[in-house]
């Protein structure tokens, strides 16, 4: 309802608003010097929460209390004007963030140095690349000295080296004993920086405490919603047809069928096979293929038991393969192949990518697998000259 005409034409319509509760019954405390994470899916209310804390939105009910000076980083570069050069924008933005004009001017050199934009000072902001823009904005933001910082997703900006610089700043701020509330989707950042975290879902806190646990809950919540269908299959037959894989699924060590697997836990792949003809020594091979279609892991029953014996027509058997899940977080397609080992491999049946699983982890090291690594550094014995 934005015009009088609408109001006049529909006088009885209750101004078209339906109430939407962005947050309800959310209560938590952040202690002095704590790095506190707020995670949740899109629309879960985390940004609203941050804006309430920043005093941008008024709460309908409830109170928020704070000790010390607060500085919100809800968005970088508020007040930046494309027609002005770096200096004017730095001062402008600094004032927006709560500095006095004198303070803002005094900090200009630090800002420009941190942003590594010394050569571009005279350039108007509209001629900056988006990366330079962000660097400048971030540099102003961290120059504001506050005891409490509210940060909304600013980590997702800049190139890799600048991102590292941001991380360094966050580490420094944390070590300086600043209280920081970070809203993010980056579970790596949560487990890396946060002392504690909360998980929001539909405006309510569903998990609170240890950041690792909260991060895991978040990942599970996130992938479950995507409708990771029960990991079973239907259709897609190929092969000689002497037997069929009638069902295939993945289960965790407790035998529950699921599509979500935590890295480091046990994973069991099972396939139920129905034999239509008699088959000698069948073997089941399973391949886990990641999103880039790289076979990350291949396993076969034939390695343990090459001679599995004879299965008669009409017989049913369940083949299973169990291993410790070391795969990097992400989505995997599971391809099962039933074959017969003879003098050459004879394909009996293949189920193609109908089973898919998601692996969650809080600490991905970047490779396709993550295995426990024992690292050590041995100092060399000093050699006398």
């Amino acid at each position: 309802m934005h015009t009088l005409k609408e109001r006049a034409l529909h006088p009885l319509r209750r101004s078209g608003h339906h109430q939407f509760k962005a947050l309800e019954n959310v209560s938590f405390d952040v202690r002095d010097g704590e790095f506190f994470g707020v995670v949740g899916r899109n629309g879960s209310g985390k940004s609203t929460l941050l804006k309430c804390m920043a005093g941008i939105y008024a709460t309908d009910r409830g109170n928020i209390w704070i000790t010390g000076r607060m500085s919100p980083f809800i968005e970088l570069g508020v007040g930046f004007n494309p027609d002005l050069a770096a200096r004017d924008n730095v001062v402008l933005n600094g004032i927006m963030l709560g500095l006095s004009p004198r303070e803002a001017r005094a900090r200009y050199d630090h800002v420009i140095e941190f942003a590594e934009l010394e050569e571009f000072q005279e350039l108007k902001l509209k001629n900056y690349s988006s990366g330079m823009h962000v660097r400048l904005a971030f540099s102003v933001a961290i120059q504001v000295d506050a005891d409490v910082l509210l940060i909304d997703e600013v980590l997702a900006v800049g190139d890799a080296s600048f991102q590292q610089k941001c991380f360094d700043v966050f580490n420094r701020l944390r070590d300086e004993g600043k209280t920081i509330v970070l809203v993010t989707h980056d579970m790596g950042a949560v487990s890396r920086f946060c002392h504690r975290a909360i998980l929001l879902e539909k405006g309510e806190i569903v998990a609170e405490g240890d950041p690792e646990a909260v991060a895991n809950d978040y990942l599970e919540l996130n992938f479950n919603r995507e409708g990771a269908a029960p990991a079973t299959r239907a259709g897609g037959w190929r092969g000689s047809g002497a037997a069929r894989i009638v069902d295939a699924w993945c289960e965790s060590s407790d035998g529950a069928q699921t599509a979500m697997f935590r890295q480091g836990g046990e994973l069991r792949f099972c396939a139920r096979v129905e034999f239509l003809e008699a088959v000698d020594d069948p073997a089941l091979t399973v391949e886990f293929e990641n999103a880039e279609q790289v076979k990350v892991l291949v396993g076969s029953t034939a390695y343990d038991e090459e001679r599995s014996g004879r299965f008669e027509a009409g017989e049913q058997a369940t083949f299973s393969l169990e291993f410790t899940n070391v795969m990097a977080p992400g989505r995997y397609n599971v391809i099962a192949t039933l074959s017969r080992l003879g003098h050459r491999l004879e394909l009996i049946d293949r189920s193609d990518r109908e089973v898919s699983i998601v692996v969650t982890a809080t600490r991905a090291q970047g490779g396709v697998v993550d295995v426990p690594i024992r690292a050590s550094i041995e100092r060399g014995v000093e050699v006398a000259p």
Partner: protein, 299 residues
């Protein structure tokens, strides 16, 4: 639950409001926004600030030609000076009020991203208009000197009149900017009102022409606060040295450059338009103050 500073919990976060918070920050913000706007207004134009001055001057030139043809200003001394001053003051009024209409919506990025006293936005618009007004006084002074108007003691009254005008514009700026967030009709409505005000605020139709139609009309006419301000401005600036026209509608009443009180019929009557200014200001503040906490959600 009362919102007071708690020994253990600290200070409460109250959410956005019109005015509360750090005074210095409020002023810094208002001033910075206004200054940036002023600087950027003619950004990229070769002549820059000259245009600030040129616009009212050009308008003045056009109106002078039109009205000298229509003989509206005939027989009135210092009509050009009066017209130019009127245009400049009215330009300030237009910039401050019409500029304020959409200002909160236009500054959405601030409103939704940072916490600050919301009143800084409409106030900065008035301030920008005030900067322009200051620049525009330069041609008035030059023109006045050229026309041979002598400085008078009553010029000391001028800042006070401008102050009342600022006060009136501020009230309207608060009212309009708050209402616009709820109903976008305010913009076209105010455009029309400004058009009407331009013709009824005695800046180009001199009081002599209206007075010629009788006392009652004049008294009604002078209920418009802008007309009183313009008339009082003329009274203080040029004075009642205008020659009296041959036919005075009633005895004891001076034509041209008479004070606003004289024009409306007395100080008691003058209280009505003055009260109107105060009412608009208070109403504007109350409306803005009430809608301030929810401006961010309503955008």
């Amino acid at each position: 639950m009362s919102l007071v500073v708690d020994a253990e919990l600290g200070a409460p976060i109250r959410g956005p409001s019109a005015l509360t918070g750090d005074r210095r920050r409020f002023w810094n913000l208002t001033f910075t926004i206004a200054r940036t706007e002023f600087k950027l207004r003619f950004y990229g134009s070769v002549l820059g600030y000259v245009w600030t001055v040129m616009r009212p001057l050009l308008m003045f030139g056009v109106l002078m030609v039109v009205y000298s043809l229509g003989k509206l200003g005939s027989g009135i001394k210092d009509y050009p000076v009066m017209l130019l001053s009127g245009i400049v003051l009215f330009t300030f009024f237009t910039e401050a009020t019409a500029g304020a209409v959409g200002c909160v919506v236009a500054r959405e990025s601030f409103v939704r991203k940072i916490q600050f006293p919301r009143l800084a936005i409409p106030l900065s618009v008035v301030l920008t208009a005030l900067f322009n007004l200051a620049v525009n006084f330069v041609p008035i002074i030059i023109f006045t000197a050229l026309e041979g108007v002598r400085p008078r003691l009553s010029w000391l009254e001028l800042p006070l009149i401008v102050l009342v005008l600022i006060f009136f514009a501020m009230g309207l700026a608060m009212l309009l900017s708050a209402l616009y967030v709820r109903a976008r009709d305010i913009a076209p409505i105010w455009d029309v009102v400004i058009q009407v005000l331009f013709y009824v605020s005695l800046l180009l139709i001199p009081i002599e022409k209206i007075g010629a139609h009788g006392r009652t009309l004049l008294h009604i006419w002078m209920l418009n606060p802008l007309a009183d301000l313009m008339e009082q401005y003329r009274h203080a600036f040029i004075g009642s040295n205008a020659p009296r026209p041959p036919t005075t509608p009633y005895p004891g009443w001076h034509f041209g450059g008479s004070s606003a009180a004289a024009a409306i019929g007395g100080y008691a009557e003058l209280a009505i338009p003055m009260a109107l200014i105060v009412i608009v200001f208070v109403l504007g503040f109350v409306v803005f103050n009430r809608s301030a906490p929810h401006i961010a959600d309503n955008l």
